[in-house]
């Protein structure tokens, strides 16, 4: 009897133990590995004008901020017609419940004051659902002429706080402006804000210009000009509009220049005796050194952001492919292995990706791949896409898209590196060969 009782007790104890094991240990744990990808709704009511002359800027600055943020495709503006609250003072408390009701997840409030030609812009970002400020508020002082830049700076700060990466709105783009028919196209260098505003021309249209490239500090532009009848590399000081020819006209053709990250050296292609190789040149001394010496065509060089490597295109394998080599020259390793031909590689400012043009089965694509050639992803497909350039934060790519036919023209387009948000960039005329500047200080 005693044994039976013991056995029953043991059985009951074991069952209790098993029950305890099945019960939850600590808080409930779940893993979320699926979500949605959609623009984040935000609201940017008109900034509060603190002086009478500021009312015009207060509205315009809010609109430029909205155009910047919504233009990324990552954010969606809640229109003013849906706003319940009105921001009447910069330091007035925010009625978060009103912004939650219209599903605005971020809110940007600001104030503008004008004193003579001096403009002051203050702003704050708010995380509506957390009912907290997004970081600390900032104030920008400048002139009324620079109101767009100040709006871009506010948008950059908001973008950075929400996404965690730096913005790209306070930047410029140099490109080749094209006008006239295809058989008599006039080209001149132009520079504009990233969004197409404030276009200014840097050269006249007397000679053909190609492939402008910004220096790492954005103060100089390298480009190729046919002014002497032969392609030669010029460097232009954007502020002073002073030009200097870098390559000599000794029967060689020099083209496809690009700055090294230190801004003192350039790398470019030179054709001599029917062979095209890569060279580097010290801008101040003019000292040249040869980087490749193969009987094939090597061109379109681009530095890695740390300056240690160069990616370029070459047909040494029989078809046009991408290669990476040390910045001082040396053995190159091929990184592109897909179908078709690859060209115009550009290293991302972040250093993790390379953008390129790909031609395959009669169509052109802009694509990105890792620096070892892995994870190739094509972002676009059209009759003719080429010449990618990276936004300063490495998130967006701008490129040239040329339409088919005799009436076809070249235009600039931009696309997110995910392939989303493909859209044209507004320019007064046709445009090609864009090069994005670094973020302005």
């Amino acid at each position: 009897m005693r044994k039976i009782l013991a056995a029953l007790l043991i059985g009951a104890a074991a069952a209790a133990g098993a029950g305890a094991a099945m019960a939850q240990d600590g808080p409930l744990r779940i893993e979320i590995d699926q979500g949605v990808i959609e623009p984040l709704p935000y609201a940017v009511p008109d900034f509060v004008p603190e002086t009478p002359a500021a009312s015009e800027y207060a509205t315009q600055i809010a609109r430029v901020i909205a155009a910047d943020l919504s233009g990324t495709g990552l954010f969606r503006e809640v229109p003013a017609s849906a706003h319940i609250s009105k921001v009447t003072g910069f330091d007035s408390p925010v009625k978060y419940a009103d912004w939650k009701a219209v599903n605005a997840q971020a809110l940007i409030t600001g104030a503008v004051s004008v004193n003579g030609n001096q403009l002051t812009v203050r702003f704050r970002g708010h995380d509506v659902f957390a009912e907290k400020e997004l970081g600390t508020g900032l104030q920008f002082n400048g002139t009324t002429d620079g109101w767009r830049r100040m709006a871009h700076k506010v948008a950059d700060a908001v973008y950075s706080r929400i996404t965690g990466e730096s913005g790209y709105f306070d930047s410029r783009v140099v490109y080749v402006s094209e006008s006239g028919p295809k058989n008599d196209r006039r080209k001149r260098l132009a520079v504009m804000d990233y969004d197409g505003a404030n276009v200014q021309y840097l050269t006249n249209s007397a000679s053909i210009v190609l492939a402008p490239r910004f220096s790492p500090t954005g103060d100089r532009v390298l480009y190729t000009s046919y002014e002497s009848g032969f392609p030669q590399i010029h460097v232009l000081d954007v502020g002073q509009v002073q030009r200097k020819v870098l390559s000599s006209g000794d029967g060689t053709m020099s083209f496809a220049p690009r700055f090294a990250p230190d801004g003192r050296t350039i790398v470019y292609s030179q054709t001599q005796g029917g062979n095209t190789d890569l060279f580097s040149m010290d801008i101040s001394t003019g000292a040249k050194s040869r980087l490749t010496s193969a009987p094939s065509i090597e061109t379109a060089p681009s530095f890695s952001p740390d300056g240690s490597q160069i990616v370029f295109e070459s047909d040494r394998s029989g078809s046009q492919q991408l290669y990476v080599m040390p910045a001082g020259g040396g053995e190159a390793r091929r990184i592109s292995f897909g179908e078709g031909r690859y060209g115009t590689p550009v290293w991302s400012p972040r250093g993790d990706m390379i953008a390129f043009t790909k031609q395959n089965k009669g169509r052109f694509h802009i694509g990105v791949m890792r620096t070892d050639g892995g994870e190739e992803r094509l972002l676009t497909a059209s009759f003719l896409d080429e010449g990618p350039t990276w936004a300063p934060n490495g998130r967006v790519i701008m490129f040239t898209r040329e339409s088919q036919g005799s009436a076809g023209r070249a235009l600039l387009y931009s696309v997110d590196i995910t392939g989303r948000n493909l859209k044209p960039v507004k320019t007064p005329d046709g445009a090609s060969d864009p090069a994005w500047s670094p973020l302005q200080n």
């Binding site: 099945m22 744990r29 948000n421």
Partner: protein, 375 residues
């Protein structure tokens, strides 16, 4: 039968047999392979070897096609430029001095008496006050990406995360009835649609997924970011000689299995897999990773939250417990996206069984964006 006939029959029989089965036994020998060998002199061999060692160097390489970019420009015709003559490049205004940036003081705390706000009807129209902003070009529609594709809803249907049918008051009803507007989830696809992969299967892309180059070294095995192991109670030992000791040991061990949990201890039956899954789906509908940086998309965060009995999250209780994979800045962005998901989708209360409140009062949610990176 005459002898001649017999001989004829036998002869024809043999002939027919040979015709039918003869081919089975080929008598001809198989043709043997013959290789012709030529002798070369040692000078010739040396010459060939030299060529193999340095095949790329030849005294006169074949002329190469010049790249299109360096084609000499057509001589510009000396006709007058129809444009206004620009002899000097237009000077560019020097970049304006950088705006001075100063940090603002903290916003004053909200006063007790709220400011009276004007009604929504007074909201000014701003669309006509945009003189210098470029007009909206027509970008490609930004597709929404969700765990499962959602068909476009009927036009005029209100977009909401919760799908509700329309409820209209009945004709002639005497009592007051609740009117409910029909809602539907926003249209979505289950992957990012680009111009390149539009209308085709992503897997059909000709591009290789990885480089064909061998990796220099195998990837270091990553430790499991959060091993969620619940310790099972040790089974009670039954092979004991002393029954009294066995009973005491078994009771002690069994009780020790559940004694690890600190108070407040969840009691009652745990959530079923289906109930857990429903909660997971509810949160994932609001977890928007579309505005996260690539670094934040590599960061897994574990967020703790306490819920009230009506299933609503206590906003003040939401906290980041741990993060793996990214920088602290990336973890902050990832946590903020997770917090928004919990608050937004929990605003109406998560659909959880009230009788099991003690089980879901405190929740740890792991937000792992790995699968969202490759959409």
């Amino acid at each position: 039968m005459q002898t001649g006939t017999k001989i004829s029959l036998a002869g024809h029989g043999l002939l027919m047999t040979w015709v039918v089965f003869g081919a089975w036994f080929p008598s001809e020998p198989l043709p043997s392979n013959v290789q012709q060998v030529a002798l070369i002199s040692s000078e010739q061999f040396e010459k060939l070897s030299q060529q193999r060692q340095a095949p790329q160097v030849s005294p006169e390489p074949a002329p190469l096609n010049e790249p299109a970019a360096v084609q000499p420009a057509p001589e510009p015709a000396p006709q007058p430029d129809p444009e206004p003559e620009i002899t000097q490049p237009e000077p560019v205004a020097p970049v304006e001095p950088d705006p001075q940036v100063t940090e603002l003081p903290e916003q004053p705390p909200e006063p007790e008496v709220p400011v009276e706000l004007p009604s929504a009807a007074e909201a000014p129209e701003v669309s006509s006050l945009v003189p210098q902003v470029r007009p909206e070009t027509a970008p490609r529609p930004v597709d929404r990406v969700a765990p499962e594709p959602v068909a476009p809803p009927e036009p005029d249907t209100k977009i909401d995360d919760i799908v509700q049918p329309e409820v209209a008051p009945e004709e002639g009803a005497e009592t007051e009835q609740d009117v409910q507007e029909a809602t539907a989830r926003e249209a979505a696809s289950d992957r990012i649609v680009t111009e390149e992969n539009e209308g085709e299967d992503v897997a059909a892309s000709a591009a290789p997924a990885v480089s064909k180059r061998p990796k220099t070294r195998p990837a270091r095995p990553q430790p499991d970011p959060e091993p969620q192991v619940t310790e099972a109670a040790q089974p009670a030992e039954t092979e004991q000689t002393d029954t009294a000791d066995a009973v005491a040991d078994a009771l002690a061990e069994a009780l020790a299995g559940g004694a690890d949990v600190e108070a407040p201890e969840p009691s009652g039956p745990p959530l079923t897999l289906g109930e857990k899954d429903a909660l997971r789906v509810e949160v994932s509908r609001c977890w928007n990773v579309g505005s996260l940086s690539t670094d934040a998309l590599k960061t897994t965060v574990v967020v703790g939250v306490s819920l009230s009995q009506d299933g609503k999250p206590d906003t003040g209780s939401i906290r980041m417990l741990s993060s793996t994979g990214g920088s602290s800045a990336a973890a902050k962005q990832a946590y903020e996206a997770a917090r928004r998901a919990i608050i937004r989708c929990g605003s109406a209360g998560f659909q959880l069984p009230p009788e099991k409140y003690s089980q879901w009062r405190d929740i740890e949610m792991t937000f792992n964006p790995e699968r969202m990176r490759i959409k």
